[in-house]
C-alpha cells in the first residue's frame, strides 16, 4: 500500500517539476523580417513562439512538454515583433501556413518551419534576428 502511494507521488512530482514554467515578471521581445527568396518582404506570415522542454519522469525518461506562448504575423513589409513571457524551455520561432526556412538559420532537427532562437543574444530583453528567407513547402 505504502509503495503504491510513494510510486504515485514520485510520478506526480516528476511530471510537475519537469514541465514548462512561465515567468510573468520577465517579457522578451523578438523582432526581425521574413522575406522570400528574392529578398522581398513577405506579408501576413503567421508566426508563433514555440517552447519545448524535455524532462524525465519516474516512468518515462524522455517526455516532452510543448506550448505556444505568443503569436503574431508579419506586416506589409515582412517585419514582425512578438512579445512573450520568459520560460524554462527551448524557444523557437514557428512558421505557420506551411512555410519553411531556405537559408542557413539554425533549425530544429530537420523541421524547417522551426527556427531556434538564441536567447543568450538577448539585449535588454530584446532579440533582433537577421532576415529569414522562407518558401512554401
Amino acid at each position: 500500500m505504502n509503495f503504491k502511494i510513494l510510486f504515485f507521488l514520485f510520478t506526480i512530482a516528476g511530471i510537475s517539476c519537469g514541465k514548462i514554467q512561465l515567468d510573468g515578471m520577465t517579457f522578451y521581445t523578438v523582432q526581425g523580417k521574413i522575406s522570400d527568396s528574392f529578398n522581398q518582404g513577405k506579408a501576413n506570415v503567421g508566426l508563433d513562439i514555440y517552447v519545448e522542454k524535455t524532462f524525465g519522469t519516474f516512468l518515462n525518461a524522455n517526455s516532452t512538454d510543448r506550448a505556444i506562448t505568443a503569436s503574431s504575423k508579419t506586416d506589409q513589409n515582412g517585419n514582425f515583433k512578438i512579445t512573450f513571457p520568459k520560460s524554462n524551455g527551448e524557444v523557437y520561432l514557428l512558421l505557420q501556413n506551411g512555410y519553411g526556412v531556405i537559408d542557413s538559420i539554425a533549425i530544429n532537427s530537420g523541421n524547417s518551419h522551426l527556427i531556434k532562437l538564441d536567447m543568450e543574444k538577448l539585449n535588454n530583453n530584446l532579440l533582433e534576428i537577421n532576415t529569414i528567407k522562407i518558401k512554401g513547402l
Binding site: L22, M25, A67, T69, N125, L126
Partner: protein
Amino acid sequence: MKKYLLMALLLNSPFAQAQKKAFDSDNLSCFSIGAGYKSFIGNNFLAKTYNNRVSFVYDFNFRLYKKWGAGTFYRTTQAKPFTNQYVGNSVYARITELGFYATYYQKINGRWLFSPKVGFSTFLLKNQIKSPYQMTYYNYFTRGTNFFIAPEINYFITKGLRVFANTEYGFINMPRVTANKAATGTSYNAANQVNFCFGFKVGF
C-alpha cells in the same frame, strides 16, 4: 382617528425605534461585500491588454479611535485579454488584491457617512496560456503593489445595515517586471487603475 392611531403605532414600533437610534450610533465597524468594475488607464501593458472587468470585494473595517478606523480587503477581478501583443497568448487572467487602509468617518445629516480611505494592496496578475498540444494550461504571475485613495459614501438603511459606493484611484508599481520599453512601446513597471464599487455593509 384610525389614521392617527396607525401612525402612533408605527412610530412606537420596535422597527421605528431601531431606525431612530441607528443614525446616532457610533457602530462603525463593519463587514462589507461589494461588486464593481476595474479599468486600467495610461500607456501601460495592463491598459493595452485587458478590458474593463467585474470585481468582487470583501472588506473588514474597524473603528479604532473616535473618527478614525482601519480595514483590510480582498478583491478579485476576472479579466479577458483582447490582444496578445504584450503578454503572450493569455486566454484568461485574474487579478487578486489583498489590501490595508486607514479611513476617516464623517457623518453627514445623520443617515449619510463620508469615509475616505488611503492605503495599499498587493497586486497579483495571473495569466493563463492554453497549450494546443496536450490541452494543458500554463499560469504565469506578474506582481506589484497598488497605492490608492478611495472616497466613499455610505447610507444607513438601519442601525446595522448600510449601502455604500466608492471610487478608488490606484497607482500600481511593478519595479521588478522587466521588458524592453522601446520595443514594446509601453510601460511594464507602472500603471494606474480606477475601481468603481458598490455594495452592502453589516455593522458589528
